[in-house]
């Protein structure tokens, strides 16, 4: 699984700790999410997407998928 959490988080000017606090999870969880090592629940994915003012589809995609922009082209 790949994520663009780091990209969106930086764009929002948030640190990992800030995002973790807003999402109500541990900072470790954000670290593993950004590395693509942790598959979050739909609820957490939705929550993070809302915090970062984007959609789940923009944030998460799997190995057999390409990014949303590439899908549209």
């Amino acid at each position: 699984m790949y994520t663009r959490i780091k990209e969106y988080r930086t764009r929002e000017g948030l640190t990992q700790a800030d995002l973790a606090q807003k999402a109500g999870v541990r900072r470790e969880t954000i670290v593993f999410l950004e590395k693509g090592k942790y598959n979050p629940s739909l609820r957490l994915a939705h929550h993070i997407a809302r915090i970062l003012h984007t959609s789940i589809e923009e944030l998460f995609f799997f190995d057999d998928e390409t990014g949303p922009e590439m899908n549209n082209s």
């Binding site: 541990r26 470790e28 969880t29």
Partner: protein
């Protein structure tokens, strides 16, 4: 669940544990060994509860000191002649090590004081499940070795093996999955 319900549940569980421990002591014929085993079990349960509820530096230090004391007293008991059973001293050593392991494990969560998110809950549950499977396999192997292989092992030793295996394997599995990031 609201706070009052949680406190009531905790009191009921504590009372049940206390009744079981006192009952065990009374039925043991008031031996020192039984008293020490009961105190060690109560200490283990209390330490785990305290760390789950208040994972602070102070609590962790108390747990570490208790662990070192357990190991130290048990080691002194092994070196000097005591009327206690050898299994009691082994139990003391084991509980001391478990307390130190708990201290080390919980110290790594210091940054997120007691916060349990979905990932930690998933890893916690999965670690316990893996430990249960491992213990079940060990029980099957022991039973096969005793029944089919003719191995002779006292029931006391089997109990000590299980007491050591379950908490330590749980902590190790949880540490592994925590390092890995997820349980899959």
């Amino acid at each position: 669940m609201n706070r009052t319900a949680i406190i009531t549940l905790e009191i009921i569980i504590a009372a049940l544990i206390l009744v079981v421990l006192i009952g065990t002591y009374l039925s043991s014929g008031f031996t020192y060994d039984a008293l020490i085993w009961i105190l060690l079990i109560a200490l283990g349960i209390g330490a785990m509860y305290l760390l789950k509820k208040h994972n602070s530096t102070g609590v962790r230090r108390i747990i570490a000191v208790m662990g070192i004391l357990c190991i130290g007293i048990s080691f002194a008991g092994i070196l000097t002649p005591t009327p206690l059973l050898p299994a009691t001293l082994t139990m003391g050593m084991v509980f001391g090590m478990i307390l130190l392991l708990l201290h080390w494990r919980m110290k790594r969560q210091d940054g997120d004081l007691g916060l349990q998110d979905e990932r930690s809950l998933r890893i916690g549950t999965y670690g316990i499940a893996c430990s249960w499977y491992l213990t079940y396999i060990v029980v099957i192997l022991l039973a096969s070795a005793i029944r089919l292989g003719g191995m002779q092992i006292p029931a006391e030793s089997v109990i000590i093996i299980l007491i050591i295996l379950m908490p330590i394997s749980t902590i190790l599995f949880q540490t592994y999955y925590n390092y890995k990031g997820d349980v899959y």
